[in-house]
Symmetry: D2
Subunit: 136 residues, 4 copies
């Protein structure tokens, strides 16, 4: 398993009239978590698209909204790659607030798409080999 | 069960550099589907907040991204209230594109919160009684 | 001058903790206004990109926020093309609420970019000729 | 004049199908710039609302889009408070990309609203006195 932490401060525009972060805006937090987790092992998602012609759309998402997040909260995003990617890449995210309370849990599953053919492909070997040391 | 249909046209700002609707932006489509489903049985969500002091935050979400949605697509949002609300209100949404292909399926579970006490409450009787005729 | 009206209902996710529509989210309303104005004269913006290889990025924006817009408001978006396009295409938008009060005024200026060369070009003749009848 | 710098990395969800940051999403960057500029002089915007009952809606915005911003760009946001606040608070923002090219310029004018009465008020003295040392 690979675990990575990053922090995000809630922006005003991410809240809604309830005063909470809008339920859809957490998806950007998961995305930042994923991208920074990949960057920390040397995989730049931007380069995957630009240089390798691989993009990774989301195919499945599940979220538990446990406590609200509020404007200006400094959130800790814990991103886990829970298994060695194969047909899919599976991320799990936990978000904690400044009082260290778990406020949100999510699973995000992505696949790889070849941007030439726009067909789904298995995770490319260069991604597997970068992640392999963290699994077993 | 209560079923309601509404339509949404994909906005430019809802797409991302992949050319698809960003995975987080579907949440606004589910929300429009929910709100219009409630309006169609005479429940105006805005009035729930303003006049009844009840708000309905999302507590759980799960999504299957089946096919991409593209800019300017006219999407059909089918929103189902699958059981009579009790501790939660459970919505299921299916989204179809103009070729009538299923592109997205989601479950969104909400609870009721008393805006005075900010405590979770069971679904108020006036909501139950409006929906009851559709269930059995 | 060409004038076109369309309507938009404010979504929950477009509000912020102030209870108003977030100041940045009006940009999607202007965009819908522009796209529907163009569609109403037979110009589909999507086709401009897909078939003509022309995209229209925004180069300048100015906004007066006169009154707030609230959740669930049904807004009327009045979009004007104020002069025959040349180096730029200039839109002016006025937004009215259900009480017919002017709440927002904006000017949005766009240019045309050739998607092959990614260079700025003057407005293509086929756009000019569609709009010409409304000017002069 | 007071000048403050902060940095933002462009998120995937902030881009659109053009591959650029959507023109409306810069508003969140200006907002982060403003909030961090105020924090750096000891004014926490969140506390203004929560403790002082003052909120600051945007009343006017103007933007020049000079060059596009792209996914994953690390942008430098330079925020200036250009005059001592009085009836309004006037911010000017310049955004630079990693090559130190100016990509975006904006002016954002805000006013103060008393959250009890929901009436516009002049900028409170405690804000003026914090900012005064930087002007004259």
């Amino acid at each position: 398993m690979y675990i990575h932490n990053t922090q995000i401060r809630v922006r005003y525009g991410e809240t809604d009239k309830m005063g909470y972060v809008y339920y859809g805006n957490y998806t950007e937090y998961y995305e930042v978590g994923r991208v920074e987790a990949l960057r920390s092992v040397g995989l730049e998602y931007k380069s995957l698209e630009d240089k390798k012609g691989i993009m990774m759309p989301v195919i499945r998402l599940s979220v538990d909204y446990i406590r609200p997040a509020y404007y200006d909260d400094l959130l800790t995003i814990i991103t886990k790659i829970v298994r060695l990617p194969d047909q899919e890449i599976n991320f799990e995210t936990e978000i904690f607030n400044e009082k260290n309370k778990l406020i949100n849990k999510a699973k995000v599953d992505l696949c790889c798409v070849d941007m030439q053919t726009m067909k789904r492909v298995t995770t490319p070997p260069f991604i597997i080999s970068v992640l392999k040391p963290y699994f077993g």
